[in-house]
Subunit: 163 residues, 2 copies
Amino acid sequence: MTSQDQAKQVAPVGFDEEGGALQLGELSELLGYSLKRAQLKVFEDFLRCMAPLQLTPAQFSVLLLLDKNPGRNQTEIANTLGILRPNFVSLLDALESRDLLTRMRSPSDRRSHVLMLTDKGRATLARAKKLVATRHEARLIEVLGPAEHKALLGMMAKIAREF
Amino acid sequence: MTSQDQAKQVAPVGFDEEGGALQLGELSELLGYSLKRAQLKVFEDFLRCMAPLQLTPAQFSVLLLLDKNPGRNQTEIANTLGILRPNFVSLLDALESRDLLTRMRSPSDRRSHVLMLTDKGRATLARAKKLVATRHEARLIEVLGPAEHKALLGMMAKIAREF
DNA sequence: TATTGTTATACTCTATAACTATA
DNA sequence: TATAGTTATAGAGTATAACAATA
């Protein structure tokens, strides 16, 4: 089977750190690692702040994009958000069943569905934006400071664009 | 296939009518959104750079942590990495089957498995570290600049810690 | 023939309950 | 009784193929 007689450099006896906190070591210098953990924290906080409206980050991004770009079809919105078309269907089903948006067959190309926010969708988006600004982003700015928060936004955009 | 895939074509601005690029709007000010997209890019690049060794970010983090903290059990390592114990099992199975680490029953508490890198595990980790430094982090530093890269690390750690 | 929305499907991650063997 | 490792399982998120309607 597998090996059983190597690893003689560090004996299983003589633990000098029994029960103590582990050394992260080079892990804390690994940007991907910190980035992932920070991203999880930020999404957790987003969900907490958005709990009254029951919107996920992905759902919020769809409403935001639709408000700024009315009359687009599913493929255009999904592509812009990096969501694959098949996976976009159930996401839209959920929002449409909550009457936040509508799918309408395009008169010019009856294959495509034109997406538009409903009045309820616009109202919900307005409340959602307020929650994000006053609870979520406000807390981030409080932790980082306004200058670093802005710098961070720039760096994230740069990585997403140029990396 | 060239090195440049057309994941997202950026059309010239000013095309707000039919067929033009969509307006991201407030989406670009949403830190969680940029953070997520940046994190995906960084992990993609990590996998590309690490392709010769076939290590995922999670696997690399386990090797790194084990090297710095030999003789710990599965629960301690998993908790430190934010991995749930049940999900840690198959991750370890994969690394152990590649002879990169060993599980040994602890003599003091026969319930727990003491984890240690094998010689092959240490050698692989050394090669992995070199790939990360010379290919992955080097590219990040090239895009961001050394000062911003360092600042970014600090901010990510701060969010992961205080947020 | 090509494209839009869709279904089906599969694979990875993540999360919870419950089992076993030890303590 | 409680804990460490494990199994089973379920749910998200993500990926590809293929089909019907339409172009």
